[in-house]
């Protein structure tokens, strides 16, 4: 127990280690205790990560406690000194109470908007039902592109989802066609629904792929609502009104995001800031508990008028999904292109990005309990057909990464809030059908920011090519959480096995070895 908790002196630890070398039962117990240590450390680390949010809540409470209702006092003075003061006493009291209630309700909500990310992150079921509008560009005949409704369910507890992704295609003449592709995943099958073709196509997913995909979609759901977490300034929202709907009172909060320097264009379904636009966010929260129930995103049109772009009319967390949410039967009027029984098996997605000189892919990353990241990646030159095996031959566990054409040498939290950098070290490599995959361990040089679970990571890369390509690579991943040895075996080793010809992971990669390596690097 004391060895696992780090409470022994060096000599005591050495003596105990001698016993462990010859006692399998004690080694087994030590492993169990060390697993508990990891769970404990992870639990308290998560509490620690929430400290900034809690402190902010306290500071807001302090601010509210020092606010004085000046408007109320002056009104009271006005009433009591007026010639009608005595006769209007009852009316004045009622007016005062109403004004005080309104003022107090504006300045002392029972919740804090800055709690929203944590509430979202802890949700095990997320439901977003909304409508998306496209005011420009227009259809060839000048008509507006019809709005599209989405009804997304993400069930992290059971690794199932119903998710519509929106895509747009432009014909070069300013005309746009919106494509909505719905995916329904339940158990081993995923149904892809194509509304244009009125067709569905079935695939089978590996357990790991389903689990990782569900997690990724949950992060993308955040992006759908509010864009990049580091761009959203929840503390700057102001309350602009109240609504009473079906007996429930909602506070309405609003924030106008100023134009940002750099950024992606606002593709459908993703309110990411473009360099020349600003956005308006409106949130509806229940007045009593601050439960988020509706969200809108507005963008200015060419005339500078605000136009509704996304209206998430229903936002729910941790509700029981209806049975129909994940039904795999084709919608009425749709045909099936194949049968579930013959559906192809898909593993972790390898979406390869190519240029004239190089290609790369980063199929998956995992965030370990201590904040370090295991990431699998591949890159190769487009103009060479030589095997990459020599580049991996001399690599050692914990040593430098291979000098592949694109080398992902590090990570930073997306948005780089506090400057923490993750440096990469080689763990293992795998090979499947001539594609070599590097598995690196990325260890942070400081405390990861609290928001990294929603932000994800931006990769840092260098080119080992001559001549050096121009530009750089922008990509990010969310880091599927891996909290203990069992998760590591299922997820990290499972991923390595998927990218291996033999379907087995490298034999010398274990949770304990990776955790020890990360600790050693941090202590160096």
């Amino acid at each position: 127990m004391d060895l696992a908790a780090g409470l022994l002196s060096e000599s005591e630890a050495q003596e105990l280690q001698k016993h462990l070398n010859s006692c399998a039962d004690c080694r087994s117990l030590l492993q169990a205790l060390q697993n508990e240590e990891n769970v404990l450390a992870d639990y308290f680390a998560r509490l620690e990560a929430e400290t900034a949010r809690r402190q902010e809540r306290v500071l807001r409470a302090l601010e509210r406690s020092s606010t004085t209702p000046r408007a109320t006092r002056s009104l009271w003075r006005t009433i009591m000194t007026s010639r009608y003061g005595k006769f209007g006493a009852i009316a004045a009291t009622l007016a005062l109470a109403a004004i005080a209630t309104l003022f107090l309700s504006r300045s002392t909500p029972a919740y804090a908007l800055t709690d929203l990310p944590a509430t979202f992150d802890q949700a095990r079921v997320i439901h977003l039902r909304g409508r998306h509008y496209f005011s420009s560009p227009r259809k060839p005949d000048g008509a507006e592109v019809p709005s599209v409704e989405t009804n997304n369910w993400i069930d992290l507890a059971n690794h199932r989802y119903r998710y519509t992704s929106l895509g747009a295609s432009y014909d070069g003449k300013g005309n746009v066609t919106i494509r909505a592709m719905e995916m329904v995943c339940n158990g081993p099958y995923t149904m892809m629904v194509n509304p244009e073709a009125k067709m569905v196509f079935y695939m089978r997913s590996s357990d790991l792929n389903r689990e990782v995909m569900t997690y990724r979609l949950s992060r993308m759901a955040w992006m759908e609502l509010w864009g990049r977490p580091d761009q959203l300034k929840l503390a700057e929202f102001v309350k602009v009104g109240r609504e009473n709907m079906d007996g429930t009172v909602y506070d309405i909060w609003q924030w106008d995001m100023a134009p940002a320097a750099g950024g992606d264009s606002g593709a459908p379904g993703s309110p990411v800031v473009s360099p020349s636009a600003s956005l308006r966010f409106k949130l509806w929260l229940t007045a009593d508990h601050g439960r988020l129930t509706r969200s809108q995103v507005w963008m200015p049109n060419q005339d500078g008028q605000w136009q509704l772009r996304h209206d998430y009319q229903m936002i729910e967390y941790d509700v029981e999904p209806p049975a129909s949410a994940f039904a795999l039967e084709p919608p009425p009027g749709y045909a099936a292109a194949n049968a579930k029984e013959t559906a192809p098996l898909t593993g972790l997605t390898t979406s390869i990005t190519s240029t004239d000189t190089y290609e790369y892919s980063v199929p998956v990353s995992f965030t370990l309990a201590d904040g370090s990241v295991v990431m699998g990646w591949h890159s190769s030159g487009r103009k060479t057909r030589e095997s990459q095996e020599p580049l991996f031959a001399s690599l050692v566990f914990g040593g430098p990464l291979p000098k592949l054409p694109v080398e992902f040498f590090g990570l930073k939290p997306a948005g780089a809030v506090n400057g923490t950098t993750y440096t990469g070290y080689h763990l293992a490599w795998t090979r499947k059908a001539n594609q070599f995959m590097e598995w690196g361990l990325y260890v942070p040089d400081g405390a990861p920011p609290a928001g990294v679970k929603l932000l994800g990571y931006d990769v840092l890369c260098r080119f080992n090519l001559d001549p050096q390509p121009k530009g750089t690579i922008h990509m990010a991943d969310y880091g599927f959480p891996v909290g203990n040895a069992a998760d590591f075996e299922r997820c990290v080793l499972g991923a390595m096995a998927e990218f291996s010809d033999g379907g087995t992971p490298p034999p010398d990669v274990t949770w304990q070895k990776v955790v020890d390596l990360a600790q050693k690097i941090r202590n160096h």
């Binding site: 127990m1 508990e36 308290f44 998560r46 809690r54 809540r57 302090l62 095990r124 941790d318 909290g483």
Partner: protein, 174 residues
């Protein structure tokens, strides 16, 4: 801890600069929260009491005779508020209605751990929280609790032992 800096901040607060109190919150909130968590075993209760503590600290700052003793003073306030809450709960016998004694929808994989921590005696849970959350060593914990370092060690060991038993549902530990 820079006691002199605390003294300067408190002087500023007393001269009307209430925003300076935010600096004290940022320095001491974590320790207050850790104490509340160790005493109450509930993250929600610890948040509420820690917040109430900091507010009460601001309201009563004029009563602090020795500004350099801000930390022990604010921790005493926290401890008293925790004791008050536990007494009220005991009188009201609301344990059965406490939502945190039952698994909630959306509970994460740490539910078993939280439940086990709640079942530890307070005198063991508090040093355990100081060890894992505040990363204090046994000597520092001993100083905070007013016990000897060896007793602090014993309590952390016993806390881990009992936690192991609770997590393994009473499996034998030798």
């Amino acid at each position: 801890m820079n006691d002199r800096a605390d003294e300067n901040v408190i002087r500023a607060c007393r001269q009307g600069d209430q925003a300076a109190y935010a600096e004290l919150v940022q320095r001491h909130y974590r320790h207050v929260f850790a104490l509340c968590l160790g005493l109450l075993a509930s993250v929600h209760d610890a948040e509420d009491i820690a917040q109430e503590t900091m507010l009460k600290g601001l309201a009563n700052l004029r009563n602090l005779a020795q500004p350099e003793q801000f930390e022990p003073w604010i921790l005493r306030i926290a401890r008293n508020l925790c004791v008050d809450l536990l007494r009220r709960r005991k009188r009201a016998k609301t344990i059965a209605a406490d939502p945190e004694t039952a698994p909630t929808q959306g509970a994460n994989e740490n539910h078993d751990l939280e439940h086990a921590l709640r079942r530890l005696p307070q005198e063991l849970r508090l040093p355990l929280t100081m060890y894992y959350f505040e990363h204090r060593d046994a000597k520092s914990i001993a100083g905070k609790l007013g016990v000897s370092p060896s007793l602090a060690y014993q309590r952390i060991r016993e806390a881990r032992r009992q936690l192991h038993e609770l997590l393994t549902e009473g499996g034998p530990y030798e």
